[in-house]
């Protein structure tokens, strides 16, 4: 459990740098991960620095289950917010290494893990899209997950959960909306029934 919506954390980024790279150097908002050894960091800031870096591989029986890691970030982010010609620079080179590293040869707009991570979640307990399993899974099927536990949550007792979920037109599995609709609807019917009875009993 990271607290991604902590104000200090949320602010520690530079959208302009993400788009323009080293050409943009007013990155004071990125403190304390602004520069290292006198050189600017791209991408700067605490969010990027604490990039989530657990990795997962899935297997169905002995066959590897393909997980598509493409198109997991918002298109607008990829096309307009992260520079196509901006490459990681001086990233995770400091004495304190936060989270994952980035491939310096890939432009930021292609680093979808980063893009997903940079969208700070709204609430303390949150999910992030890792990838899509595009094959249909059968019921009762056993899936083997091989995970590399890189990301440190021990210091603050955070929990990590892997969720495999089917998403429908209403998104992932979440009964809340449906229950709420049923509850509100039935209470409305109940109330209107009560008022109708009262009205019939003593009309104007």
């Amino acid at each position: 459990m990271v607290i991604p919506n902590f104000a200090r954390y949320v602010k520690s980024r530079s959208d302009r740098q993400l788009l323009h790279g080293l050409k943009y150097n007013k990155t004071s908002t990125c403190k304390p991960e602004e520069s290292n050894n006198g050189l600017p960091i791209v991408p700067c800031g605490l969010i990027a620095w604490s990039l989530f870096n657990d990795t997962y591989t899935f297997a169905r029986g002995m066959v590897e289950l393909k997980v598509s890691r493409k198109n997991i970030a918002w298109k607008s982010d990829r096309n307009h917010k992260f520079g196509k010609h901006v490459y990681p620079f001086n990233f995770q080179n400091g004495t304190l290494i936060g989270g994952g590293k980035l491939d310096p040869s890939l432009s930021l707009s292609d680093q979808e893990d980063l893009i997903v991570w940079m969208r700070t979640a709204a609430l303390p307990s949150f999910r992030k899209l890792y990838g899509r399993i595009e094959e249909d899974l059968e019921a009762e099927e056993v899936i083997l997950v091989n995970l590399t536990n890189n990301y440190n949550t021990y210091s603050f007792g955070g929990k990590k959960t892997l969720v495999l979920s089917t998403s429908s037109w209403l998104g992932g599995k979440n009964d809340f909306l449906g229950i709420a609709y049923i509850a509100v609807g039935s209470s409305c019917i109940f109330i209107s029934f009560v008022f109708m009875l009262l009205h019939v009993k003593n009309p104007r």
Partner: protein, 1250 residues
């Protein structure tokens, strides 16, 4: 004075004859002169040498006046200072300053812009109001007056150019430009008449008189070499004193108030006067007397302050929770969060300095949750109030075609206060009445003339008649009933009317038509001051009646016993008259109409052109005026002793009926009984009555008496008055009663109906007048403020207490009277009986002392109506303040003259009548009306609406800001109190500025619970404002609760649906921007739909604003998202990419909307179904068109909604009906007995068919 009268004794001044100045002058004795030159008496004025006043030490201010609050230089600092004296503004300023620092969680513009707007608008309003004052001043300052410019030439100069020492010439009917010393007038004895209505509200003319020595300066050329020096008191505010002397031709003459003409009074009946400016501009007494109008705040606004305090404490609480939570997290947890990379560089989250971080977080919280305190509320209220007053100003129903003026809101602060008025303090002259007396009725020799049926009787009998009609059908003994009801001889001729009155409800409406017809007739009548219609007397017909001699005598008394003078009227051959009191003018006009034209007056001769009944032609007769026994308030009568051409001596007397009746001869009481009955009727109608009587005096008796009288007149010293009185008493006896005449102090159009409606709406009306007690009581009757079945308490100083002039005795006297009256009101039998209190000015002065005040007010509040007469302007203000403080009710004061200014300023709402000439009352007022009758619509319609509008608006504002502000707080809880905001900066700014402001403004300007005509039909609705049920604490708390519930619904539903699973088919999860936009959409929908539930009057404007606001949010999101990410930040492509195509987004909006509005919806359903309030019932009836389909029900409801009141026309009708019914009941019993005893009845009842 003795000296001066001795000097004038030789020459007879004819003007003295008809004014009592010869007797009154004693009261204006100049004070001792030795003070002059000492402190407070240093002013020196060099007459006709104004150039000497250009240099010190005699440099005095110019005659220009300024009533503005600011000038160009002081406007900014002063107005700004005023603005930041409001606590809320100060808070916003603090927030703005903090927002510039790094502490602010969002951009400074979002805090500063609204503040600038609020302060700017308020300052603009101040500037506009001040500008209006400036224009008014300009107008006054540029009036012109003729000023001596040397060489005996007079030239027009603007008032402002006038300086001390100038000699000016003021013409008839012009105002004096400054305080002047009277030098001479067009009258040869240096008299002039002055109307001081603007100073003290008294309408009678006052006489001023110049010094003997300056009399000769009555030509322009005389001023060529005129030089004199005035030494006098320094400028002060005392209107009734002046100390000074005039050095003229090497002699010193004392000056007093009689020689001083005050600014803002008016020259009347005198062609011109010359005067020297003594005090100019700001030094004049009237300007010194004026007070700056205090800024008033409405009751709702004052309570709103407390609401703001509640919200403020909520804000503090929330911020405190945030800062404490933040500190706890920082110290205990933050070091563990490696990803925060905590070092000691961040002051907000410094685990080593928790106190500092806590304080900083607290301040940040104050700014962040500042949305709880709606700054835009102040902006919107200002805007709404300006628009409201525009609507009030433009109301065509309140436009007076006679004066071409309409109602004007002078300040827009108090619109909603109009809906909460509980008491009206009203001036009389010029406000309720037109200051015009009309001859209405008379009773001569025991026969009443000019008497139409009294309107109250008419209304009552109409209603009774319809009841009778039913009775006729139900009662089988109809043959006998017809004769027994002859007392109700007024039949309703027209069947339709009869139908209409079947329910006895429309009476008032019918009557008001009738009333207006009567007043129209008054307008049509060609002769001003004469509204008398009786064919028996008019057109010389009276000569054919039986008791001609009495009639002749009656008219003679009317034509001779007065102090008036005739004035030629160029247009007609009829004469006009001027007299000290308007009643005398009315009598003179009437006697002229009856054929007794008073033509001339010389020092001892009165000339009448009278109709001789025996000859049938007009003859001119001279009457020698032997003595004039003047009127005084203690004598209550005046007499003249005249001798006719035959040498017969008559004493002609007129006076109050009780006084005259006491002095009747045994053989003079022939008509006393009938006359008394008529008097009672007249008085009930509010007519002012005077009894006329005469007496023949034998020559011998007269000679004896005359010598005594002359001796008394020449007596010197304080006993003179007493002596004169007792001598007069000697001759005014053994009178023969002729009859009574009744004049009407003409009420303004629509006044009784207006008072009636206001009374039904639960308003109390007090009359405060400078007039005499009798006149005040008459008007009380005319306006139905008094009735004859009311118990009247008269509070006045008893004679001995007054003469002793010992404060203690006076106080005890008053206390005793109050105690006695109070006991009467407390008696069980009088529980429902109406009481009226009539207080005299002098008694009031004692009663207003701090130790008597409470008891007095306690009594006064228990009375249905209160009339204060002979009160000074200062007392009016004092009463207003005391009543306001004692009762805590909202007081409205209405008046027309400068003497009402104090009262108008002191009251919660001051209303000025703008139809008149003077502008002081209007300038001091908060609202100005051309006519009193518009008060009804102003209060019952506009006041009611504005009250509801503003209270609904404030409550809604509180609600919507709580909804919005609390969602921020809830999110804060989820972010470990770190101060993160889920909304974009622009969302925050636009929330109050654009996305929710227009509907609430349309609510504030256009909302009506019921249409205006229904408001007027159901005055009871007005009481909602008086009881303040729409802005009660329970409602305020209810709305706060509603806001809390709605914000909870919005936040939790959004959080639980969006987290933690993905919200789209593609598996994307929601981030801060998504949650923010989701919640914000819900907030916008909720608050805008909530206002749709509140509004009960929809026009296209409301629809446009409400749905437009919601639409605007989507449009904004679209446009904002389309901007490059540098500007749109997290909102980039938010709507087009993430929200719009997501079904979840729309589903949540719908769900949240329903859930958040459900509590309110259930609340209103329950309230309307089971505990409906007046307006709900009326709305429903109106909705089902009951006023058209079920008229009786509609009218019945109207009747039921009226407040039980003791004042007003309808209640008088009700009382009359009770009286008639009582009598009817007795008759019925009689009839029943007679019928049951009749053999026919017996035979019928005994027959088996029955």
């Amino acid at each position: 004075m003795r000296e001066s009268s001795a000097r004038t004794k030789g020459k007879v001044r004819w003007s003295k004859l008809y004014s009592f100045s010869c007797l009154r002058q004693g009261t204006v004795e100049p004070a001792p002169v030795q003070q002059l030159g000492g402190p407070g008496f240093t002013r020196v004025v060099f007459c006709n040498e104004s150039h000497l006043h250009k240099k010190k030490p005699y440099k005095y201010p110019k005659n220009s006046i300024s009533t503005t609050k600011y000038n160009f230089v002081t406007f900014f600092p002063k107005a700004l200072f005023e603005q930041f004296r409001r606590v809320a503004n100060l808070y916003f300023l603090l927030a703005a300053i903090l927002s510039v620092t790094s502490l602010a969680p969002f951009s400074p513009a979002s805090v500063i812009a609204p503040l600038v707007f609020v302060v700017g608008i308020s300052m603009l309003k101040e500037a506009v109001e001040d500008w209006r004052r400036f224009l008014q001043d300009l107008n006054v300052n540029s009036r012109t007056v003729k000023v001596h410019i040397g060489n005996g030439l007079f030239k027009d100069k603007a008032w402002k150019a006038l300086s001390v020492g100038d000699v000016v010439k003021v013409n008839k009917n012009d105002y004096f430009p400054s305080d002047l010393l009277l030098i001479s007038s067009s009258f040869e004895d240096g008299l002039c008449y002055v109307e001081t209505m603007n100073l003290d509200g008294e309408t009678n003319l006052k006489v001023k008189r110049c010094l003997e020595q300056t009399l000769s300066l009555d030509e322009d050329t005389e001023f060529l070499n005129f030089k004199a020096t005035i030494r006098c008191e320094d400028p002060n505010s005392n209107l009734y004193s002046f100390v000074g002397n005039l050095e003229f031709e090497n002699q010193t003459h004392p000056l007093g108030t009689a020689q001083v003409l005050l600014r803002d009074s008016k020259l009347r009946n005198t062609d011109y006067v010359y005067g020297v400016v003594i005090f100019s501009g700001p030094d004049t007494k009237v300007v010194r007397n004026s007070t700056r109008s205090p800024s008033k705040r409405s009751r709702i606004e004052r309570r709103m302050d407390y609401v703001i305090y509640i919200l403020f404490s909520m804000l503090i609480l929330v911020s405190l929770v945030t800062s404490i939570g933040s500190v706890l997290y920082t110290t205990s947890q933050m070091t563990k969060w490696w990803y925060l990379h905590s070092e000691e560089d961040d002051p907000f989250f410094n685990p080593l300095k928790p106190v500092l971080s806590g304080i900083l977080q607290f301040i940040r919280g104050l700014i962040l949750f500042g949305y709880l305190i709606p700054i835009s509320l102040y902006v919107s209220i200002e805007v709404v109030k300006v628009l409201q007053s525009m609507l009030i100003n433009k109301d065509i129903e309140m436009y007076d075609e006679v004066t071409c003026k309409s109602v004007e809101a002078q300040t827009s602060n108090l619109n909603e206060e109009l809906g909460q008025v509980e008491m009206i303090l009203s001036d009389k002259t010029g406000t309720l009445t037109c200051n015009q007396m009309e001859f209405r009725k008379c009773s001569i020799a025991g026969i009443s003339y000019g008497g139409e049926v009294n309107e109250v009787d008419l209304a009552a009998s109409k209603r009774i008649n319809t009841d009778l009609e039913r009775y006729h059908f139900s009662f089988d003994g109809s043959d006998s009933s017809s004769q027994s009801f002859e007392m109700f001889e007024f039949s309703v001729p027209d069947v339709r009317t009869q139908k209409a009155v079947l329910d006895g409800v429309e009476d008032v409406e019918n009557l008001s038509i009738g009333n207006s017809r009567i007043s129209d007739l008054g307008k049509e009548s060609v002769i001003r001051g004469f509204n008398f219609k009786d064919d028996r007397l008019m057109k010389k017909k009276w000569m054919n009646r039986s008791n001609v001699s009495d009639m002749t005598m009656f008219f003679r008394v009317m034509a001779l016993c007065h102090t008036g003078i005739p004035i030629e009227d160029d247009e007609t051959d009829k004469l006009k008259y001027e007299a000290e009191s308007p009643e005398e003018v009315a009598f003179l006009i009437a006697s002229q109409e009856f054929g007794f034209k008073f033509c001339r007056r010389t020092q001892s001769i009165l000339v009448l052109k009278e109709l001789d009944p025996s000859l049938g032609v007009e003859v001119e007769r001279e009457y020698k005026l032997l003595n004039l026994l003047e009127f005084s308030s203690s004598r209550k009568r005046m007499s003249v002793i005249v001798s006719n051409e035959d040498g017969q001596i008559f004493l002609l007397c007129k006076g109050a009926d009780s006084i005259i009746f006491d002095r009747l001869a045994d053989d003079g009481k022939a008509y006393q009984q009938e006359t008394s009955a008529h008097l009672l009727n007249y008085a009930e109608d509010g007519l002012r009555t005077l009894a006329f009587a005469y007496r023949r005096i034998e020559h011998a008796e007269y000679e004896d008496w005359s010598s005594i009288f002359t001796r008394a007149k020449t007596t010197i010293g304080p006993i003179r008055e007493e002596l004169l009185e007792s001598v007069s008493e000697m001759i005014e006896k053994d009178l023969i009663l002729l009859g009574v005449a009744a004049v009407e102090d003409k009420l303004q159009k629509g006044v009784p109906e207006c008072i009636d409606k206001l009374a039904q709406a639960g308003l109390k009306i007090w009359l405060l007048t400078g007039d005499k007690k009798e006149t005040a009581i008459n008007i009380g009757f005319a306006c139905s403020l008094l009735r004859h079945d009311m118990t009247q308490f008269h509070l006045s100083l008893s004679k001995e207490a007054e003469s002793n002039n010992q404060e203690k005795a006076m106080k005890e006297d008053i206390l005793q009277q109050i105690g006695k009256s109070y006991q009467v009101t407390c008696e069980e039998s009088n529980k429902d009986a109406p009481f009226a209190l009539v207080v005299d000015g002098k008694a009031l002065e004692i009663a207003m002392r701090s130790d008597v005040k409470d008891q007095f007010l306690h009594l006064a509040v228990n009375c249905a109506s209160v009339i204060c007469c002979r009160v000074s302007p200062k007392q009016k203000a004092l009463i207003t303040r005391s009543v306001k403080e004692y009762t805590g009710r909202t007081i409205l004061a209405i008046g027309d003259g400068a003497n009402d200014v104090g009262m108008i300023q002191e009251a919660d709402i001051g209303v000025g009548i703008s139809g008149m000439e003077g502008m002081q009352a209007v300038m001091a007022s908060d609202f100005s009306l051309p006519q009193f009758r518009f008060l009804e619509r102003l209060l019952i319609v506009h006041g009611h609406w504005c009250y509801k509008r503003i209270s609904k608006m404030i409550l809604y504002f509180v609600y919507k800001n709580i909804v919005f502000g609390l969602t921020l707080f809830y999110y804060e809880l989820y972010t470990n109190f770190s101060g993160e905001v889920m909304y974009d900066d622009w969302y925050m700014v636009l929330f109050n500025v654009l996305l929710t402001s227009f509907p609430v403004i349309s609510l504030g300007v256009l909302e009506q619970d019921v249409p205006s005509d229904v408001c007027l039909q159901f005055p009871a609705l007005y009481q909602q404002g008086q009881r303040n049920i729409y802005f009660s604490w329970i409602r305020i708390l209810g709305w706060i609760l509603n806001g809390v519930l709605a914000s909870l619904a919005i936040f939790t539903l959004n959080v639980y649906t969006l987290s933690p699973a993905a919200f789209r088919e593609g598996g994307e999860v929601a981030d801060i921007a998504h949650l923010g936009a989701f919640s914000y959409t819900c907030v916008i929908w909720t608050v805008n739909c909530q206002i749709a539930l509140i509004i009960s009057h929809f026009t296209w404007i409301q629809y446009l604003f409400i749905w437009g606001s919601i639409l605007l949010w989507y449009i904004f999101m679209y446009i904002y998202g389309a901007l490059p990410p540098v500007y749109s930040n997290r909102a980039f492509h938010l709507f087009t990419e993430a929200l719009g195509p997501t079904p979840m987004y729309w589903l949540i909006t719908l769900l949240v909307l329903i859930v958040s509005l459900l509590p309110y919806f259930i609340h209103i359903v329950i309230q309307r179904l089971f505990y409906p309030m007046d307006d709900h019932v009326i709305q429903e009836m109106k909705y089902y068109r009951k006023d058209v389909t079920d008229n009786p029900m509609w009218l019945r409801e109207q009747n039921n909604s009226k407040k039980k009141t003791h004042i007003g026309f309808s209640s008088r009708v009700d009382a009359k009906i009770r009286y008639f019914r009582g009598q009817l009941h007795q008759k019925k019993i009689l009839i029943y007995r007679s019928v049951t005893n009749s053999p026919l009845y017996r035979s019928v009842t005994n027959s088996p068919l029955f």
